[in-house]
């Protein structure tokens, strides 16, 4: 067996035959998707108590209408089977008396602070005068606002509910005053939807395959999932490569290795081991994903057709990123030092994360195309585009592969030079400029 393959075999088993690998397989998706899951979980854990809101109503009708709406809302929140509400109910209390001044507002504020009320709402009398159609230009009519006072007023769900409900009540009342039937307004406002559907294709037997509706969430999150999958496979094989290089330097294994094989053979072997490890990770995630998709009956949404190209870009990405990680591992005396040197590299690797939404929305746009030819971002951006578009023009795929391939080759050669020099050097961690000098001059 030739030396790179012997080294690759050792690297592969040192990567996959560990508890850390198995834990990483579980932890990585949790880290990547955990935010979404936790947000949804927290959303369900909302307070289901009663929120009492004081209302100072300057009109003679709005409070009653709001109270009816709140009661209807509260009733709708109750699960008929369990009898339990799914969210907090609203109880409205009218504050009678003359129009409030600042002293009255302060007193109510103190009652909110004392938790007697969740918030208080001040509806000025001018709301009533705004129910009549203006005589002049409607846009020049003065706008009257309602004030919602609370400790966290800007982000309050209660305020949102008041805004929606008062909006509906006031506009309904305005139509009524103008002699327009609400059902006519509802009909007039009902715009025809624009439904997203896929492009039509011709099947191998010559018939035309009808377009299929495209789910908006799937259109956004499927490409993101594909990009995340590539990131996980790359990261999970590149990080151990860095740690192994660091170990080989710290424990003088590099001397023995470099006395047996040359730096390029060692680097190549390590990269092949990393690639094999990343393919193992991909296979595991695909199998789990497939089983989950079958369970939820969404197998048809898995874009199997992009798998070959995904694999090509994944292999290139693993080699590109791992070679840089290895060079940095070899240049460092500790993991902490390596993390410092990795910062600029991370910025480049994370470019797809900063731009993915734009790329998914405009997969043929200039940003998406430009990033497809920028080696550090190209593999993940191409994965995004393939998942978003289904097909990317062949020339773009070919050019992207050619550019990343050339960059990967140069990167591996440069990293091997750094690896050879850095592995044997002791003492201070080299500066970034020094690393570049080693990479260029050897």
């Amino acid at each position: 067996m030739i030396k790179p393959l012997i080294i690759a075999r050792r690297e592969y088993f040192s990567l996959v035959a560990t508890k850390g690998f198995l834990i990483g397989l579980v932890i990585m998706p949790v880290m990547m998707m955990g935010g979404i899951v936790i947000a949804r979980f927290v959303e369900k854990q909302t307070d289901v108590g009663t929120r009492t809101i004081a209302v100072v109503d300057g009109t003679d009708w709005l409070f009653d209408a709001l109270k009816s709406s709140a009661e209807a809302r509260n009733a709708a929140l109750v699960d008929p089977e369990t009898g339990k509400p799914s969210a907090a109910s609203y109880a409205l209390t009218r504050i009678s008396g003359p129009a409030p001044d600042d002293a009255a507002r302060l007193a109510l504020s103190d009652e909110v602070r004392a938790k007697k009320y969740h918030a208080f709402l001040e509806i000025p009398p001018a709301i009533a005068s705004g129910l009549q159609p203006p005589t002049g230009d409607p846009s020049s009519a003065p706008r009257v606002s309602i004030s919602y006072y609370a400790e966290n007023a800007a982000l309050s769900d209660v305020r949102d509910w008041f805004e929606r409900t008062i909006g509906t009540l006031v506009t309904g009342r305005r139509f009524q005053e103008a002699g327009v039937a609400p059902r006519v307004v509802q009909w007039a406002n009902a715009a025809p939807p624009v439904v997203p559907v896929s492009l039509l294709t011709r099947t191998p037997d010559g018939s035309i395959q009808a377009a299929e509706p495209v789910d908006r969430l799937t259109a956004i999150f499927l490409p993101m999932g594909v990009m995340m999958l590539m990131f996980m496979t790359v990261f999970m094989s590149a990080q151990p490569a860095l740690e192994t290089a660091l170990e080989e330097k710290q424990f003088r294994i590099a001397d023995v290795l470099l006395g047996t094989a040359n730096a390029f053979e060692i680097m190549l072997g390590k990269l092949l081991g990393g690639v094999a490890g990343s393919i193992t990770i991909l296979v595991v995630y695909l199998c789990v994903g497939f089983l989950a998709a079958r369970h939820f009956d969404v197998v048809d949404r898995i874009p199997f057709h992009i798998l070959p190209m995904f694999l090509v870009f994944q292999i290139l990405a693993v080699m590109f990123v791992s070679s840089i990680f290895m060079a940095i591992g070899a240049s460092s005396n500790s993991l902490k030092e390596a993390q410092g040197l990795l910062m600029p590299v991370w910025l480049l690797i994370m470019v797809p994360f900063f731009t993915w939404m734009n790329v998914v929305r405009e997969p043929t746009g200039s940003l998406a195309m430009g990033l497809s030819f920028f080696p550090p971002s190209a593999p993940m951006i191409m994965a995004l585009r393939l998942a978003a578009m289904g097909e990317v023009p062949v020339w773009e795929v070919a050019l992207s592969i050619a550019i990343v391939l050339a960059a990967t080759y140069l990167c591996v050669v440069a990293a091997a030079r750094v690896f050879r020099i850095a592995m044997l050097s002791q003492g201070n961690t080299p500066t970034f400029a020094q690393l570049i000098r080693w990479a260029v001059r050897g």
Partner: protein, 316 residues
Amino acid sequence: MADPVLRIERVRKCFGAHVAVDDLDFQLAPGTICGFIGPNGSGKTTTLRMVLNIIRPDAGTIELLGSRARSTVLSKVGYLPEERGLYRKMRVADVLRFFADLKGVARPRAVIDEWLQRLDLTAWARRKVEALSKGMSQKVQFIAAVIGNPELLILDEPFSGLDPVNRDALRKIVVDLRSAGVTVIFSTHDMPVAEMMCDTICMIHRGKKVLDGSLAEIQGRFAEDTIRLRADGDIAFYRSLPGVNEVNAYGPYAELRLAASADPRRILRALADHGTVHQFEITHPSLHDIFVRIAGPVPDTGSDGQPSAARGVHDS
């Protein structure tokens, strides 16, 4: 002389402004054990790394096992670095298998089992390297160096961290390997071991070769300016003896370094007048003493630029 196993000619290596190896010439005869000595930072490791093709010389040529393309013959060279050099998370048998495969060993399992048995490590074959003591790691590392049945074996402090039993066991193996035709370069700071085991000694200092030859040849270049003795007396008394420049006391034994004008007979008389003399030997300096004279902290230099301590060298 048969073709040398290693031929180094006018080799130079600089790191920036620092000259690590300066115009080094060296030849190593097959089937010998050569002690490669020198103080820390003298250029030993750099030289060995150049021999192993890990780093390239700036100038000069290195011929290894008859080939200038050293990478083609590396599978015939075994290398034991000083301390460590093993993957901690791997099992002993697996790490040896890895190095055996890299060296292209046929029937690696049998060879590994044989070596493990020879060094009393069979019970540790399935244990991880990190679970081994320092001495055991050293023995595993030694196996990794010799597993490829090398023609040239490069050992860097092979006995450090070993207890006397294991030290003797490894020493015996090294001698056996030499008897089987293996050439050994052996870098060490342990001068008595070098004196005992090495056929030839090469010392480099500040990148230059300062000694090369058999121990007898090297010692012959120095005057018989040393008295080894075991007698009644203490350091202060020895220092008061006429013509004694320096005293090194090792428990009951002492080494007295004499000035060129000193008369050993006067010194013996003084010792006998003072008490019993058990041993009195006028001799050449030991390798340790030679090493210290050359590499010791002597700031002034002679007209030839050599350390003044080396000026005791005779023309032979």
